[in-house]
Structures are given as structure tokens and as C-alpha cells.
Amino acid sequence: MEALISILIGVLTACGVYLVLRARTFPVVMGLTLLSYGVNLFLFATGRLTIGQPAVISAQAPGYADPLPQALVLTAIVISFAMTAFVIMLSLKARAELGNDHVDGHADEEEHS
């Protein structure tokens, strides 16, 4: 399972990285989203993998997962949501101000053709 999750983190990160490096705002936003998936999963994984042991205190519980990374991921999810919202908005503003959706505001040939 550990290998599976590790590879998954890697794949999500790799795809995120590739998309973040694109020239248009929308793929970059998607890339940031994928990156945040990857890093949230990673952060989550630092609490190691436990199945069926949520950190809810009860007498019957056989054990508990590490709750701290979960709390951190929760915070990270919210923050990255806020940031994503902001970038999305910003990409619209860029589109309005720059006339196209290139991250550097270049109008390029394909836009015209």
C-alpha cells in the first residue's frame, strides 16, 4: 500500500508540475490543483497509513491514526482552496486586462488564426 500511495503522490505531483509549467492560465490553475492534491496526500502520508482507525476517541477503538497530519491537511486544503479561488479570479482579471489568457499576457499567433 505504501508503494501505491508513494507512486500516486509522485504521479499527481508530476502531472501538476507539468501543467503548472504551461503557458495558459487555465492549465496552470489545474496544475496547482493537482499539486495541491499531491501535497495534501503527502502531508497526510506523513502520519503513515492506518486503516479503520479514525482518530475519534472511543472505548472500542483498536488504535488511532495520527490526527495531527489530518488536521494539517485540513488546513492545507482550505488554504489551497482559497488560493485556487484567488488564482482563478486573477486569471480572469488577466484575461480582461491583457486581452488573452497567456500567463505572460503575450498575444500569440494562434490566438488570431
Binding site: 509549467l21 487555465f26 486544503i77 482559497a82
Partner: protein
């Protein structure tokens, strides 16, 4: 080596009166005052400047006798003793000599400038700059601390920049000023380096210590670099070859400035430094080679160029260069007598050159030009001024009875002594004689070409004698030239002696300032130089032609200009090579840096990546989910150019991630991920409407390969990190949370207790981020107008049905249900999965659903759209809840809870963390709705202006 006799005992005499500090500070304060009084009449500033200078002189007076006792006067005001940097001043012979020159000639220049400046020149500004400069110069010569000296040194560069660029409308003035600043700035920085090293070597920046530890300094391994740096500073300031070019270009300054800066002060600062550090630094082969060769080259080149300058001030400027070379050469020769001669020539040059500049200024003033080809025969128009100028020129040429002759004789004697039959030793005397002959020639030219040589050509006006007071400064200076030249023993000798003593740090060797020393080699050289000068001047026409042919061939100034352009060009090239304004490059660099350093971290030590923990076996469903997730991620990447499609796939990714969270014991995370995912999708859809539906294929192949490479490495790297961590048994602080969640935090959902209690502060920050996102987006929307798509991506008109009936009717049904669920999630969050954040998202989504299905107008009639108060009260509720614990003397966010028993109702738990969670809830609802609603409203806003 220094042939030093009994060294002066450098005992420090402390005086209570801080008059030296005042001497330096008065001009600075006076500068401000002068600038201020000029508002009330331009001439007042001249009077004020004169008064300030006189005051500074007066401050100096009480200490005048001290240097003659043989002990320097040292006064200290502590500033940064820990750094060895105090406001500490020193008055010894050298300092005294220079201070007198600076103040004396300064006063004359102030008088002179009063008449020189035109009515439309701002006099207050001029005098303010001049006083700034004067103060800086005084600081240099009176500083006991090298760093203090350096500070004033740089201030002279800055104030001379202001003075040279005084006529700011003139391009040559601006360029000259910048060039001077650049070259002297370079020198100043080199000097800083040199002084730092010197201080390190000597263990102190104080001259008393440094001058006493010459042996140790010269023996130190850092001596050579230090010397080079210090000399660089001195040479640039004193316009030594090859840094001489800035000086002639500084002639764009008003002539009083030239008379002041380029005779007695600015350029003498470098010479002063050579003299100042002479005991500590001189006496090594390196010193001799560097200082002598610079001096010699400057002497010769300056004299040669001076001869051919048609510009009056140009001639004087290059002559200055040449004389500075002469003095440098003397210090380079390094014998005590040479040093004495050097000091003597400093005085002499200052007097005759200042008077010459002033005379040139008068001529310029009267003729409206400085071109010697046009100025001729002024003897007829201004005989008195001509006489003065001719006396000063004679002194410059080294004609007997004038002061220049005396120091030049000493110089010839030292040059002759240098000749010791070794292979190259003849070079020095020969060159010296040639240079002197050139000096005679250009002095002759100055006299003949200006005052005789026929009639003036097309002058704007008829020249005549200047106002009386404009001549007075020249008269005084010329008188000094004569007095010193004829009665050296009565006039200059005591000052020279005490100055030379302090240069040598011992009693200076016997020197006879008589005019006549008999027929010795020096006299012979003088005669040869005079005759040679006459010869050269006689042969000037062919020489001028030769010079004209080679003009500009090797012009260091042009070279400098090209160098500067090249440096700026290189700077542009380098800067634009890095900073292309490309986000992709920015991100790529960040990633490369991170991947590189990450690799260094991981591979830099031989530690196993795989740990020792027992692993969890994989099961089928996890495999499928993981495969789906991986395939989805790759699909998003491959399909990313079809934006809507990619968006759908991203939705699936979020769902699968939530599943993984659920599977691995994180129900809270699963809930959060699910809710956030949907809101994100809605957000992306809202945005996509205003964006192109497809991403053009525009990345080059190279770029794609590079990005794929980066992506692959990033993937491998994070996989390795995750694998390394997952395979290690973890030992974390989480046990504490599990142990204290119920007894200390009053909740059994540990994750939630961490969020609202153990690490509630994180959550406070997190909701602030959310609030900020809302506010930031709202702020950004102002004035934003974007056309949406008028046709759908396939080119068809949009569907007519804005709000499909079936959808609209049923989602209204869902609203109360969703709100109930939201309340449920909120209330149980402390003990079971849930909490304020998820509840907030559910509420927000339930309301968004109304917008989606019923439209903005319909919903807005039912829901108050102003979310700012909601966000603000959320933040306030969270903060105030945290502050409530202040009342009980506990830190912020200290939680409390109690079980309340109400009859019939049963046990209720009341926890302060719930109130905090309410703040979270409000911020989430407010921010999410603010963002989505206003984004959704954008198109309507495009047509009709709203808030």
C-alpha cells in the same frame, strides 16, 4: 625604507573643547543655513557662506599652535566604540596645512563666485553645495579614524557631483559629474576595501595606531592587496593615469568650483591620503613601483595633452593632472626630502592653480568663450588681470622667484639623486625634464596665446577688466606665490616643516628653501627644462598638427564612456537573459532549484531510503482507486487542452482523493475534500465561461521535453520522499493529542479538537486566509468587464432554458434538508467527523445550488448578498472567543467546556471551542458565497453596473 630619525612621540592630547568637530560640522550646518537664507535674497547666501567659512576658521584658531608643539591634537566624540568608529579628529601639521588651504582658498572662492555667478544661477544652492564640499574636505584632512576619513571622502565625491552638475541643464555638466562620481566612487569603494584590510592588519582604524605600526603593516601578507586598493582610491581621486580623464570633464562646472576642487581640495584629497599614510605604507618596492609609475605617467601625459588643449580650462585641467602626477611621483620616490618637496608642491600648486583658474574664469566671463584660438591679445583689454595670470603661469612653469620654482627645484634634485647609474634609473630624470619642458611650453602658451598673439576673433562682447572684488582673490593668491617664491624661509617654512614632520612622523630632514643652491644638477635640469619649453613652444605648429592627427586616438574618457556603455549593455544582456518576464521560467527555476537541492539532500548522504516499518498490504479496491487516480491525473495532463474535459476529470480526482482519505481513517478529510472539490469545480466552471475553451498547442518540443523532465524528476522525488517516510516507523507528538483530546479539549474527534483547540491558532489564520481570498477577489472584481461566450463551444447558440423547471423545483426542496445536515455536521463536529468548516461549506453549497438552479435574480431576492458583515463577524467571533480566556488570565484560545445537565433534556456539553467553530462557519459561508456570487454576477455586472 624610511630614513627616519627620532620619531615623534604621538601622545594623544585630549582637550575638552571639541573645536575640531565644530570645524568640520560648521560648514555642514552652514550649508543648510545658506540654502535657507537664499530665499531672502541671493546675495545673503554669499555672505552667509563667507561667514560660515570664517566661523570654521575661527573654530580652528584656538588649536593652531598645537601642531607646532610636535604632538597631534586628538579630540574624540564616542559614536560606535564597539566598531572602532568614533567621531575622532586629529590636528597635526599635515591636517593644519590642508585645513588652512581648504578654508583659506575656500573663502577666496566664495568671494570670487559672488561675482562670477550669473543672475539666473541659484546662488543659495551653489554655496550650500560648496559648503557641503568644504565640510567633507575638512573631515578628510582632520579625521583621525580611517573609516571616518572614508565617510568624508565619499561625501566629497557626492558633493562634487552636485557642484559639477550645478548647471544641470548642460549635458556636459551632467555627464562630467556622473563620470567624476563613477570614477571617484570606484576609488572610494576600493578605499573602503583597503581601509578594511588596513584596519584588520593594524588592529585599529585610528591613525595614531596605524602610523606607529608601519613595520608590521608592510610585513603583513595582506599588505599588497591593501596597498593596491588604497592606491586605487588615492589615484582615482587625484586623477592619476589611467583615471585622469574625469578631471578635464569636470571642467563643465562653474569656474569657482574648478578653482576650488581642482587646485587645492578635491584632487588633493588623493595626494593627502598618500601623504597621510606615507609612514605606514611607503618604503616597499611595490609602493615605489606603483606610485612612481603612476606619477611619472601622469606627469608626462598630463603635460603633453595640456599643451594641445585649445580650451583654457582644458589646458589648466591637464596641467593639474600633470602636477598631481608630479606630487605623486615625489611620494613615490619615497625619500624624506622627496616627501618634503611633495608637501611643498601641494601648497604651491594650490596657490598658482587656484589663481589661474580664477583668471581663466575672468577671461571666460569677459570673452564668453574659453577657446584660445579665438581669445588673443587680451593684454590690451585687461592688463591687470593679464599680469596676475602671467605671474601665476610663471610659477606654474617653474620660473625662479615664483613659488613653483622652489618645489620644482627640490623635485629635480630628488629626480637627479635617483639616478644611480643602474640600467633604467636615467629614465626618471630624463622624463622629469621632458615633462617640465612641456610645462614650460604650455605655460608659455597660456600667456602668449591668450594675452598676445594678435587680435581676438569673433568674441560676443568686448572684454574689459572684471569688477574689483573679483580680482581680489586672485591678487591674494598671486601675492602668496610671490611671497613664498621670494621669501620662502619667512613665509612657508614653519608650516611646511610642521606638515612635513607629520607626513614623515619624524622630524623632517634639513632642507634649504633658498632660491639659489649653486650650479647643481637640479639647476641644470631647470635650465634645460626652460630652454626646452621655449623650443617646444616655438615648434608648436607642427606639434599641433601631429596632435590633431592623433586626437581622440587614445582618449581615456572616450574609452571610459565606451566601457560604461559596454557595462550597461552587459547589464541589460545579463538582466534580460535572466528576467524575460516569463512566468514559466520563474516557475521552472524554482522547481529546478527545489529539485536540485532536494536531490542534494537525499543523495548527499548514504542513508537508506527505505525504512524498517511493517507495511500495509495492498487490497484490490485500493489498487483500483489508486489506478483510477493515477490514470485520471495523467488524463488531465494529456487532455488539458480540452479544458472542460480536463475539468470533469479533475472532479473525479477529488472524489477519489476523498475516498483515499476515508479509507485511511480520515473521515474529516474526506468530508472536507468532497465539499471543497465541488466548490472548486463550480468556481472553475464560472471562470471557464470567460476563458478560451481550448488551450492552443504552443509549447515547443524542447519546452515540452524540459517540462516533462522536470515533471518526471518531481514525481520521482516526491515518490521517494513519501516512500522514505511511509516505510519508517513514526514517532510523533500525536500521542499527546489522543491522550488529552477528551480530558483537556472536551471532544472525542481528535482532528477537530486539534483544529479548534490544540492548534486553533492555525485555524484562525486559515479562516483569515479564506476571508482574505474573498475580500481580495471582491476587490479585484471592481471594474472588471469580460465578455462571456455568446455561442457554446461547438458554435451553437446556448440552450434557451435558463433554469430547467424540474431542476429548479426539486433543488428548492433540498435547501432545508441541506441546512439541517449542515447543522448536524456543525454540532457534532467536536466529537464526530464534521465541524464548522465542513458545515460552512455545506451551507454555502446549498445556497450556491439555489443560484445554480434558480439564477441570480431569483436568489438575490431571497438572500441578502452582502457577505462582508458575515465574514467580519466570523472573524470577530473567532477572535473574541479566543480573547474570552483573557478574563480568566489564560492565554488566547484557551478552551473551556462543561457538561450541563438540564432536567428532561439531559446532558449537554457546552464547549467554548464550539463558539470558535461558529466563527469558522461564518467565515466559510461568507467567503465562499462572496467569491462565487460575485464571480457569477460578473456577466450581469458587465451589462449593468452594480456596486
Amino acid at each position: 625604507m624610511l630614513e627616519c630619525c627620532d620619531p615623534i612621540n604621538a601622545s594623544h592630547s585630549q582637550r575638552l573643547i571639541m573645536n575640531l568637530t565644530l570645524v568640520v560640522l560648521v560648514p555642514f550646518l552652514g550649508a543648510a543655513l545658506t540654502g535657507w537664507v537664499s530665499r531672502y535674497g541671493r546675495l545673503r547666501s554669499a555672505w552667509m557662506a563667507g561667514a560660515v567659512t570664517a566661523l570654521a576658521l575661527a573654530c580652528l584658531l584656538p588649536s593652531l599652535p598645537v601642531p607646532f608643539t610636535g604632538e597631534p591634537l586628538i579630540q574624540r566624540l564616542p559614536w560606535m566604540p564597539g566598531l572602532g568608529l568614533d567621531l575622532v579628529f586629529r590636528l597635526d601639521g599635515l591636517g593644519l596645512l590642508f585645513a588652512m588651504m581648504i578654508l583659506g582658498i575656500g573663502l577666496l572662492v566664495i568671494i570670487y563666485a559672488r561675482y562670477y555667478l550669473d543672475a539666473d544661477d541659484c546662488m543659495g544652492r551653489f554655496y550650500a553645495y560648496l559648503l557641503l564640499f568644504m565640510g567633507s574636505m575638512l573631515g578628510i584632512v582632520l579625521a583621525e579614524n580611517l573609516i571616518l576619513l572614508l565617510m568624508f571622502w565619499e561625501l566629497t565625491s557626492l558633493s562634487s557631483f552636485l557642484l559639477i552638475s550645478y548647471w544641470r541643464h548642460r549635458q556636459d555638466a551632467r555627464q562630467g559629474a556622473r563620470m567624476a562620481l563613477t570614477v571617484t566612487g570606484l576609488g572610494g569603494l576600493a578605499l573602503l576595501g583597503g581601509f578594511l584590510l588596513l584596519g584588520e592588519i593594524a588592529g585599529s582604524y585610528e591613525l595614531s595606531v596605524i602610523l606607529a605600526s608601519g613595520e608590521a603593516i608592510r610585513a603583513h601578507p595582506l599588505y599588497s592587496p591593501m596597498l593596491v586598493l588604497v592606491l586605487l582610491g588615492a589615484f582615482t581621486k587625484s586623477a592619476q593615469f589611467p583615471f585622469h580623464f574625469w578631471l578635464p570633464r569636470a571642467m563643465a562646472a562653474p569656474t569657482p568650483v574648478s578653482a576650488y576642487l581642482h587646485s587645492a581640495t578635491m584632487v588633493k584629497a588623493g595626494i593627502f591620503l598618500l601623504a597621510r599614510l606615507f609612514p605606514a605604507l611607503s618604503g616597499t618596492p611595490l609602493w615605489s613601483v606603483l606610485v612612481m609609475s603612476a606619477g611619472l605617467a601622469t606627469l608626462l601625459i598630463g603635460a603633453w595633452i595640456a599643451l594641445f588643449k585649445h580650451d583654457l580650462k582644458g589646458l589648466l585641467a591637464y596641467s593639474t593632472v600633470s602636477h598631481l602626477g608630479l606630487i605623486t611621483l615625489l611620494f613615490g620616490i619615497g625619500t624624506p626630502l622627496a616627501a618634503v618637496a611633495g608637501v611643498f608642491h601641494i601648497i604651491n600648486h594650490a596657490t598658482f592653480k587656484a589663481s589661474l583658474f580664477m583668471a581663466a574664469g575672468i577671461i571666460d566671463h569677459e570673452c564668453g568663450t574659453r577657446d584660445m584660438r579665438r581669445i588673443n591679445g587680451l593684454w590690451h583689454f585687461m592688463p591687470y588681470t593679464a599680469t596676475l595670470a602671467m605671474v601665476a603661469s610663471a610659477s606654474m612653469a617653474g620660473v625662479p622667484l615664483f613659488n613653483g620654482f622652489l618645489s620644482k627645484e627640490m623635485f629635480f634634485a630628488e629626480a637627479a639623486n635617483f639616478f644611480d647609474l643602474s640600467t633604467w634609473s636615467w629614465v626618471l630624470p630624463v622624463t622629469v625634464v621632458i615633462a617640465s619642458a612641456l610645462a614650460v611650453a604650455y605655460s608659455l602658451r597660456f600667456i602668449h596665446d591668450v594675452f598676445f598673439n594678435g587680435e581676438p576673433h569673433d568674441l560676443q562682447r568686448t572684454p574689459h577688466e572684471p569688477p574689483h572684488w573679483m580680482k581680489v582673490p586672485v591678487e591674494i593668491l598671486v601675492a602668496i606665490c610671490l611671497l613664498v617664491g621670494i621669501f620662502p624661509g619667512f613665509t612657508v617654512e614653519p608650516l611646511l616643516a610642521v606638515a612635513a614632520d607629520s607626513v614623515l612622523q619624524c622630524n623632517s630632514p634639513a632642507h634649504d628653501l633658498a632660491i639659489w643652491h649653486g650650479f647643481n644638477s637640479a639647476f641644470a635640469m631647470s635650465v634645460i627644462a626652460l630652454l626646452g619649453g621655449l623650443l617646444i613652444y616655438a615648434a608648436r605648429r607642427p606639434l599641433f598638427m601631429i596632435a590633431a592627427r592623433h586626437e581622440g586616438l587614445i582618449d581615456a574618457g572616450v574609452l571610459f564612456g565606451r566601457t560604461q556603455q559596454a557595462v550597461i549593455g552587459a547589464a541589460r544582456a545579463v538582466t534580460t537573459a535572466f528576467d524575460t518576464g516569463s512566468l514559466q521560467r520563474l516557475v521552472a527555476l524554482l522547481l529546478i532549484g527545489a529539485l536540485g537541492l532536494g536531490a542534494v539532500g537525499l543523495l548527499g548522504v548514504s542513508a537508506p531510503l527505505t525504512g524498517t516499518a511493517t507495511l500495509v498490504p495492498a487490497d484490490g479496491i485500493s489498487l483500483i482507486v489508486a489506478l483510477g487516480l493515477g490514470a485520471g491525473a495523467i488524463a488531465t495532463t494529456v487532455l488539458h487542452r480540452q479544458r472542460f474535459t480536463a475539468l470533469i476529470v479533475v472532479g473525479v480526482l477529488g472524489l477519489l482523493i476523498a475516498l483515499i482519505f476515508a479509507k485511511f481513517s480520515a473521515p474529516d478529510l474526506a468530508l472536507t475534500q468532497l465539499s471543497v472539490e465541488v466548490v472548486t469545480i463550480v468556481l472553475l466552471l464560472l471562470a471557464l465561461y470567460f476563458l478560451p475553451q481550448h488551450t492552443p498547442a504552443e509549447s515547443s518540443r524542447v519546452r515540452r521535453v524540459r517540462d516533462l523532465g522536470l515533471a518526471a524528476i518531481a514525481g520521482l522525488g516526491t515518490t521517494a520522499l513519501a516512500w522514505g517516510i511511509l516505510t519508517r516507523p513514526g514517532a510523533t507528538i500525536s500521542g499527546y493529542f489522543l491522550d488529552n483530546s477528551v480530558p483537556g479539549g472536551g471532544g472525542s474527534n481528535v482532528v477537530n479538537v486539534i483544529l479548534v483547540d490544540f492548534r486553533g491558532f492555525d485555524t484562525l489564520g486559515e479562516i483569515t486566509v479564506l476571508a482574505l481570498a474573498g475580500l481580495g477577489i471582491y476587490a479585484m472584481l471592481k471594474g472588471l468587464r469580460l465578455p462571456g461566450m455568446t455561442l457554446d463551444p461547438s458554435g451553437r447558440p446556448w440552450n434557451w432554458d435558463l433554469h430547467p423547471t424540474i431542476m429548479a423545483a426539486l433543488t428548492r426542496l433540498l435547501l432545508p434538508l441541506a441546512l439541517l445536515v449542515s447543522a448536524f455536521i456543525f454540532l457534532r463536529g467536536h466529537n464526530q467527523p464534521g465541524g464548522g468548516f465542513i458545515a460552512g461549506l455545506i451551507t454555502a453549497v446549498a445556497l450556491i445550488m439555489q443560484y445554480l438552479t434558480n439564477g441570480v435574480e431569483w436568489t438575490h431576492r431571497r438572500l441578502h448578498g452582502n457577505m462582508h458583515p458575515v465574514i467580519a463577524s466570523g472573524l470577530l467571533v473567532g477572535t473574541l472567543t479566543g480573547m474570552a480566556s483573557f478574563v480568566f488570565g489564560h492565554p488566547f484560545l484557551t478552551s473551556t467546556f462543561s457538561h450541563v445537565h438540564w432536567p428532561l433534556v439531559g446532558d449537554f456539553e457546552l464547549a467554548s471551542a464550539m463558539a470558535f467553530d461558529l466563527g469558522v462557519y461564518l467565515v466559510v459561508v461568507g467567503s465562499t458565497l462572496l467569491i462565487l456570487i460575485h464571480l457569477g454576477l460578473m456577466r450581469s455586472a458587465a451589462t449593468q453596473e452594480r456596486d
